[in-house]
């Protein structure tokens, strides 16, 4: 008998539908005939750790936070350059040593400037 070579796909689709739908249907029948649903305020609550949720999930960070972001960047970049500097320290010529000192001085100056402007005070 000649059959379409893609006939098995229809069987697959049928199994894929029955496999999840049968337990759902069984659960629905069980609910209908035996176990009445009992929803409630606690059961329908979003949070499920026993603690009541309070406040709003849609909060915003204050825009003053960008100052900390920039100052963090100073230390972050500094660390990236300091580690190879420290590794190669013994083999460095005097010129390279002076260059990294200038680099550190620039960053230090930026930090002192930010500190003086009150950038390290926590924004209220």
């Amino acid at each position: 008998m000649h059959t379409n070579p893609y006939f098995f796909l229809i069987i697959f689709v049928g199994v894929a539908l029955v496999f999840p739908l049968a337990p759902l249907a069984l659960a629905w029948l069980w609910r209908h005939f035996f176990q009445p649903p009992k929803p409630g305020a606690d059961k329908n609550a979003t949070y499920e750790c026993g603690v009541e949720s309070l406040g709003d999930a849609q909060i915003q960070f204050r825009s003053q936070y960008y100052v900390y972001g920039i100052i963090f960047l100073i230390f972050d970049v500094e660390a990236i350059f300091l580690i190879p500097f420290a590794v190669a320290f013994t083999g460095l010529p005097v010129g390279a040593f002076v260059v990294i000192l200038v680099f550190l001085l620039l960053l230090l100056e930026g930090l002192v400037w930010a500190w003086g402007k009150g950038g390290l005070d926590w924004a209220k």
Binding site: F34, K38, D42
Partner: protein, 203 residues
């Protein structure tokens, strides 16, 4: 079905059962406890779940971190009055059918802290408890024994009829009132629909 007929059929290689037996058999062998411990009893509960005592032999190894997936609440340890509303709310968030094991002296009565001001004198004041385990703390064998008692209880629950299980009846509540912090004590201090202390006659 008649017991003798069932065994007679079984000898012929025919296995018959009822929906109630099948349902209870499945439920009692897959009791998923809620994963939370309150005090030192929780250490014994952890030991029960670990390889030496191995609660997995009874189908209870799947400790669920969410009450929505749990069948059994093991109240393992001292329930302080600060914690009691959270415990009741967790119980409320569990779907039916749900069971409670009160593990240890503190959970069943307040234990050594019974005369204190800050410990709840038994979790059965707010939620219905199925199995009580005495001990301070109870050994893992005691928890396993309680687990087997609970399995026996589940096995005996009826699907239909006048004595059908409470969780199947529509009028039976699934949630119990959560106590609130009052000026001196939890308000209310106990749930009278759940808590029935024994009346002691003193002569």
């Amino acid at each position: 079905m008649d017991e003798s007929l069932q065994s007679e059929l079984q000898k012929q290689g025919i296995w018959v059962t009822s929906m109630q037996d099948l349902y209870n058999w499945g439920r009692k062998n897959s009791i998923w406890p809620l994963q939370f411990g309150l005090a030192c009893c929780a250490i014994e509960m952890i030991a029960t779940a670990a390889s030496r005592y191995d609660i997995a032999r009874f189908g209870g190894e799947v400790f669920r971190p969410s009450p929505r997936q749990a069948d059994l609440m093991i109240v393992a340890g001292t329930v302080t009055k600060k914690m009691a509303p959270q415990v009741v709310r967790l119980y409320n968030q569990m779907p039916d059918p749900k069971y409670v094991i009160a593990m240890g002296a503190c959970a069943i009565s307040g234990g050594p802290f019974k005369q204190g001001y800050n410990v709840l004198k038994g979790i059965d004041r707010y939620i219905p408890v199925d199995v009580y385990i005495p001990g301070c703390p109870p050994r893992p064998e005691a928890l396993l024994h309680a687990f087997m008692e609970l399995q026996r209880k589940i096995d005996g629950q009826k699907l239909t009829g006048g004595d059908q299980a409470a969780f199947l009846r529509a009028e039976q509540p699934s949630e119990y009132p959560v106590p609130a912090f009052g000026a001196h004590d939890l308000q209310p201090s106990k749930n009278d629909t759940v808590f029935h202390p024994p009346h002691i006659e003193r002569v």
